[in-house]
Symmetry: C2
Amino acid sequence: MTTGSPASAALIALDWGTSSLRAYRLDARGNTLDTRHLPWGIMRLPQPLQDGAASTALSGFDLAFEQACGDWLRAEPALPVIACGMVGSAQGWKEAAYLDVPVDLERIGTLLTKVERGTATPVHIVPGLIQRHGLPNVMRGEETQVFGVMFDQARTSDPHAADSVLIGLPGTHSKWVNARRGRVTHFDTFMTGEVYAALRGHTILGRTMSEAPAADMAAFERGLKVAGAPAGRAGVLSTIFSTRALGLTGELPSASQADYLSGLLIGHEVAALAEMLRQQGEPPRIVLCGEPALCQRYILAMQHYGLGTPEQAQNATERGLWHLAVCAGLVAAETPSSASV
Amino acid sequence: MTTGSPASAALIALDWGTSSLRAYRLDARGNTLDTRHLPWGIMRLPQPLQDGAASTALSGFDLAFEQACGDWLRAEPALPVIACGMVGSAQGWKEAAYLDVPVDLERIGTLLTKVERGTATPVHIVPGLIQRHGLPNVMRGEETQVFGVMFDQARTSDPHAADSVLIGLPGTHSKWVNARRGRVTHFDTFMTGEVYAALRGHTILGRTMSEAPAADMAAFERGLKVAGAPAGRAGVLSTIFSTRALGLTGELPSASQADYLSGLLIGHEVAALAEMLRQQGEPPRIVLCGEPALCQRYILAMQHYGLGTPEQAQNATERGLWHLAVCAGLVAAETPSSASV
């Protein structure tokens, strides 16, 4: 797509998290013209030059921003810029307030936090969401994916499609977001991905694991089932030790132990979710959104724990950033081409 | 106790784990004459000298052993030596077989693994226990503590004292051991201590924690209660995130977050245990055995989850090593003085 005379754009959209930065150049219909993936998450920014000229020095955020979209803005200096994710946290470029749940999604777009950049175009940061009832809970970035899923679903032909939905966002911190008619009503967080990495990298469980040439989905499913079996009733603090014990008894090869552990953790997450949904009555429609191989694991778990096969949403982050920019008046609303959905 | 002419000993007993080594010098009644605590766990042994004389070089195990009790043995070369713990693992001095549960405790003492040391006195290593029904489970070292608790309790005046008991051994890997009339029938493992360290040291939860001047037991009890409350029904993978979220909402100071997390994890462990006991019918007598400050946390958890106040056992490891040595015929049985119980 990048040519000497690129197609005209309408918006630059940034998905700026803890460990990476994705930049999207979108046209006036919200279609993606260009994508860049950079390693400059907010916890690993490029280092500013130490030349003593502190007053003019660029920050790590400025440097990463320049690499992500500096040339796009030089070509079209008036392009608006929107960003979501941890870039709006206390450790980010500028702190963007949390909005309280329940919240209407369209309200998110009216409450962007502006990073001024002198005479250059400012960056508009999307607020996170906070839930204060029960145990408090927070998200930053996932609200944009939820917006993308909900907005695109609202215009499908099925009149019930947007009524009540549970959106699953598996990852380092999995989020399960209840939404109804464009309104986020509740969400839960599970630290499954980060706990998996910590157990594998920093406990005795990792000591007996070896690299597998490919994913061992049989070991994954074995772990998955333990979480809901009588043998798993002591909970995840107990079942994880079976990763080691099954190795010591010769029942689980080293190369299968990581996938077994993954199955245990995702199994405990989805089993708990299924139990909560059972107590709430009729199960909602479920949409899953995330990295395809990880979603595949969650689909297996959901099928095993009686939640059926969820739908899967594509490109939710860039769709969400686009629709939020429309709500904010940064770009003019226009009916997107069907190819963009 | 160490004098120029020390009292005569009957046994050297070693509690040799992953991260440390405790040595006990016991008299003919099983009373402790001397104790040493060395940092030479099997994963951090002293380094052998690299002098090229490989055939005569001492191993890290030899060096640690010499520091622990070399002088005791030079003074009394015929003293028998018994050791328990990870020193008998595949990564230990010599691998000692696991015995299958259910197992009579006295049988453990008849199946010691001998480390020959040339003409010097050998070291007798206590076997671990393995449970093959349900999810497999293993222990090394705790079987000796259980033996110590059970043996001393069997001679108390209460005729029911030794009938059926649940022995709790909180620590890096907590063990809960069901025993009945001198027989270990079942045990569970919870990786609570190691998970706590991994979460604190290697996830985002540790980032917002600060050192506390003293334990914040109110924060601990708050976490404890969440585990069994409706807000905790999503399970530990979910509730742990509240450590961070409560910080972000200003409801939990940095210095209280570590104790809150400790309460959550111990709460989930004890809540699961209490639920399993409820399903089994009448709750057994419970004896707790471990580091006093940690036991205090478990006592609070057990009181909260309806398990009452457990008894506490003292010096279980050295008592167990002594009684195992008696069973093995390494030392002659003799009625211990009441001061030793």
